[in-house]
């Protein structure tokens, strides 16, 4: 534990990679995701057209891995600031297509923690990077998520 510019958190987690989940990809998952997001692109929503494409099957929409990232149990960084957490930003890099039948492994690490002062006062940003690899060991997607912690103005 260390303190830097009033931010207290477990700095030993910076850069340390953690395995945080295994995610089997199913046809139903891809189709349900497409339906819930009103996705109409045939590669993600129409099995017949997707089969005739160069991919030979349905593939996952570009942001499918978000549904895993959102629910991940990341290590507790023991941040002592703020009582409300919000999703601040996200970056996704698609490296190779994800298909039904794939099994993804996710590894994540704490990239940085920093503070900013905005209209609503002080905020602390916590940034994680996550890499999803498939069963062949190929990287499928990189995701960088930034979460902001701030004090609840209602308290």
């Amino acid at each position: 534990m260390a303190t830097e510019e009033d931010i207290t958190y477990d700095r030993s987690l910076l850069g340390a990679e953690h395995h945080i989940g295994t995610f089997p990809i199913t046809r139903e998952m891809i189709l349900d995701f497409a339906k819930s997001t009103a996705e109409t692109h045939p590669l993600y929503s129409d099995e017949v057209q997707a089969k005739a494409s160069k991919y030979g099957s349905l593939i996952a929409p570009p942001t499918l891995c978000n549904i895993f990232v959102d629910g991940l149990k990341r290590p507790d960084i023991k941040l002592t600031f703020g009582d409300v957490g919000l999703f601040a930003s996200q970056a996704i890099e698609n490296v190779s297509p994800i298909r039904p039948g794939d099994t993804l492994e996710a590894k994540t690490y704490l990239k940085e923690v920093y503070e900013k002062t905005g209209r609503s006062g002080k905020m602390v940003f916590v940034v994680w990077e996550t890499r999803f690899t498939n069963q062949h060991g190929d990287t499928a997607v990189f995701v960088r998520d930034s979460f902001v912690r701030r004090n609840n103005p209602k308290k």
């Binding site: 997001t37 549904i67 698609n94």
Partner: protein
């Protein structure tokens, strides 16, 4: 879905054809059900709970906003491959509000023989409030290939 668009067809400053979305509570619930692990009540489904966390209303999950903005690009043309995508959530996105998703081309370049287009993308509500901004790199095929 538009016709096939090629790298040569687009210029810096061109608009990406906008799409409109209105996200209902039912759609939010369906999205959260796929993800799993969200306890009720939550800021995504319950107005009072959202207000207790200092939010102005029940909000659309960030991941769903990302998915919708990605669709702006993937529905632009079947030739689009979304390579990189970044979004920042500026203001919470409310349910049952007409949203316009739009984008503009900011750069085009060929990197390692790959024709790439850079775009800025946005989610705006009817009154012109910008809720989400982003930047994307998509790959488009070259007609000459």
């Amino acid at each position: 879905m538009n016709d096939e668009i090629y790298y040569e067809d687009v210029e810096i400053g061109d608009d990406i054809e906008s799409i409109e979305r209105t996200v209902s509570l039912e759609q939010v619930r369906a999205f959260l059900a796929i993800r799993g692990g969200v306890k009720e009540p939550s800021r995504f489904t319950d107005e009072a709970f959202a207000r207790s966390e200092g939010l102005p209303y029940a909000i659309v999950p960030g991941a769903l906003n990302s998915a919708m903005l990605a669709q702006l690009l993937t529905s632009w043309s079947p030739t689009v491959y979304l390579k990189k995508f970044e979004v920042s959530f500026r203001r919470p996105v409310p349910h049952n509000t007409e949203l316009e998703l739009k984008g503009v081309i900011t750069a085009k370049q060929v990197v390692d023989h790959e024709p790439q287009i850079d775009c800025d993308v946005f989610i705006e509500s009817e009154e012109g409030t910008v809720h989400v901004i982003g930047h994307a790199t998509v790959v488009l095929p070259m007609q000459s290939n």
